[in-house]
Symmetry: C2
Subunit: 441 residues, 2 copies
């Protein structure tokens, strides 16, 4: 049997995990496949650093072309991350008839359509299980396991860094800055944490999930994104008092051809499966019309969990190669030609429940002034918590609302912020609690 040769471009953390997995589990992999995988080449700029893995029979070099141009290599694993040169490398590899495995969510979210179209034209495959939820096989679940379903909604904690920070704020009573510093100390957050804490990484992943679930081209730019840097300890405390934990959620919902898609912090009910997902864990709830609610949970990143996904993809390609086929399951689970351009629902039209924390002067009539404006905008109040805090310039008033339109809530808040009794900006958070949704009853 012809040996299946792999070229790895990017010998960083995940790349090292892939080499370790191929070596340490070589026997397990070979027994499953009925054949050996052969890692022929590794390309990286840094060829000196000791990664703690033995490299026998592997050709190391610095030029990606060494992999892309090697006629014996059929699978190219791109693990350098970021947009360029990853994009050019992948496109060129495909031009040379190579199949590609990547975990590069930023690239797929921004340039996925170009890459998937190229794969379709060249008759090659691209696998990217490692790009969302690390080692948890959620991409495969949507593309194959749940393929008989219309996906009604998805809701997930898909960014470990921000989940770690929120968990530290909740359990450790830290504020955002402290919790971020702790995450940076432990290596969970980058020096510039913007991608993680501002929800952008989560939106990259949601863009990929949506394309898979609904058979639409990738529309990253249209997803509503809000991060967690404005979350204060007082919100975490009020949330707990009301029976909720604050989590950064990536969500989508099917509305007959129009897709709701948003990433933002949200209050989730204590005791729900999602509320038990702490630290750097990830989770994704997928609701299908036949299967009902399914829930997937595990490590969302890290050397070995991501390597588990990447090597799983390599094995998938090896199975196709040994049968002499390609394109059995298209990258987005739908043939390229049948992908649609489904619209994303404007955020103003999204309907959900709201947590509003006003800061007001401690005077009679404040509550009536605020609730009057809300009523005018058709927003009805579910509950109110008001607490006097001595020595502070304003007192917090927290309201939970019945379901309301985002656009109306924003308009009402703009009006409320002009009231002389209201000081400072109002905190707006969304509540994701199925038991409060009138529309689902």
């Amino acid at each position: 049997m012809k040996r299946i040769c792999i070229g790895l471009i990017g010998f960083g953390t995940v790349g090292t995990g892939v080499v370790r997995t191929l070596q340490e589990n070589g026997h397990v992999i070979e027994r499953r496949l009925g054949q050996k995988l052969f890692l022929k080449r590794i390309v990286d700029l840094d060829l000196e650093r000791d990664r703690g893995v033995r490299l026998q029979d592997v050709i190391l070099s610095r030029d990606p072309l060494d992999v892309i141009a090697d006629p014996e290599i059929s699978i190219v694993v791109e693990l350098i991350g970021g947009e360029e040169p990853a994009r050019s490398i992948i496109l060129e590899a495909m031009d040379n008839g190579k199949h590609v495995v990547t975990a590069n969510k930023a690239l797929l979210a921004s340039r996925g359509n170009e890459i998937f179209e190229k794969a379709s034209k060249k008759g090659v495959e691209i696998c990217f299980e490692g790009s969302v939820c690390g080692g948890i096989p959620v991409i495969r679940a949507i593309k194959e396991g749940l393929a008989a379903n219309r996906i009604l909604s998805m809701k997930g904690i898909v960014n470990g860094t921000s989940n770690f920070i929120l968990t530290e704020m909740t359990k450790g009573g830290r504020d955002f800055r402290d919790a971020l510093a702790q995450a940076q100390l432990l290596g969970y957050a980058e020096a510039d944490p913007t991608l993680d804490v501002e929800g952008i990484d989560a939106a990259h992943k949601l863009a990929i999930l949506i394309a898979l679930a609904y058979g639409t081209k990738i529309h990253f730019g249209e997803i509503f994104v809000e991060g967690i840097s404005h979350i204060e300890r007082t919100d975490i405390e009020f949330g707990m008092e009301l029976g909720y934990k604050i989590k950064l959620l990536a969500m989508s919902r099917w509305h007959d051809g129009c897709i709701e898609a948003r990433v933002h912090p949200a209050l989730v009910p204590v005791g729900s499966p999602m509320s038990t997902v702490d630290g750097v864990y990830n989770a994704l709830e997928i609701v299908g019309d036949a299967v009902g609610s399914t829930f997937f949970y595990g490590f969302g990143a890290g050397m070995m969990p991501t390597a588990s996904a990447v090597v799983g993809d390599i094995m998938d390609l090896a199975r196709d190669l040994s049968k002499g086929i390609s394109g059995r399951v298209p990258p987005l689970g739908h043939p390229w030609e049948s992908l649609e351009d489904l619209p994303i629902k404007p955020m103003e039209d999204v309907v959900t429940n709201y947590y509003l924390r006003f800061t007001a002067v401690d005077k009679p009539g404040v509550l009536s002034a605020i609730s009057g404006v809300l009523a005018k905008h058709d927003i009805s109040i579910l509950s109110v918590v008001q607490k006097g805090r001595r020595g502070e310039p304003g007192v917090p008033i927290v309201m939970m609302t019945h379901e309301a339109r985002e656009g109306s809530v924003r308009k009402a808040l703009r009006e409320i912020e002009t009231l002389p009794v209201v000081v400072g900006k109002t905190q707006l958070l969304r509540i994701e609690d199925e038991s409060l949704r009138e529309s689902s009853k």
Copy 2:
């Protein structure tokens, strides 16, 4: 393109769900596959009952041969359940070159090896995602998504009926008989509930999971099985007091070529993901050496969840058929020839933590007599709860042990039961709490 024809044998609950899914989600399925699936024939003994689905262009009949012998049909869906005639139908269908989809865990657990060998010899496929955990794609996860891992352990709630009964006993304060009657009333339990409440159905599923995870032939008979009919309300109450919920678990653990495999009620820590799985939900934790702990959760049975899995399997086969291949992923994720005959660890050699509830006369020296026997057998005590209950012939003494060998515990109990101060049989339950395991520290 040639149309892909399906024959369905067994038009009961799940069969009806399959027909509904193929009809209602026909557009979703066709978009994913790039081709139509055509349900050509349905076989059932009862052709009169109205199942609430329209049947246009479907040929109904009573003889399985009508499907098996139809040269246009390439996929046979067996949903009659039980051992015979399901076994003969599947074998004959394979002899005729048909691929098979089934959800028949009892058959696969008892005759799987014969069926998988036949599939290998005839070059046909057999898919059975619906046989374990209903619509949650756990079989696919083990065969493909986590294929790069050595599976270190699996732990699951895989029988919805017994989980419903235990949930009723825990939340509703019912005893076993009452909770069972409630389950029967709601249609969750059969008139003869033995398969479910005695752990046999869970063991069927565990046998399948083990074969997939470790590449071994199916060894159903060697799995240790204990049901939940001996669980008393007092055990549920003591468990809660100690911080545990009682769940019927199916478990396996890898010991360097030897497999621990057992189904029994166990105490799981309150607050762990497994403890949140209530009612008819199922869940499976799979721990791989690369991926770490992954957790899958959803409906474990029922018309539509199981249909979701069955139609997912049909789509998988359709993808292979349209590429003209077969056997891309073998039924157990390993080529038939490479399957091993791995031994199951004898239950006496299993090491875990124990909950022991003794019933003793309320006299001085009882605790010392019992703990003396335990010490003699090398079983050390982690905690003791003793409660006087007026008006009862014996008082309960509950002990939690450090890790101990099952064989030693059983020997000690036999000796303790001969003590004159001990009245009645001792309740032995196992505690599955990773934080108590010395061996994992």
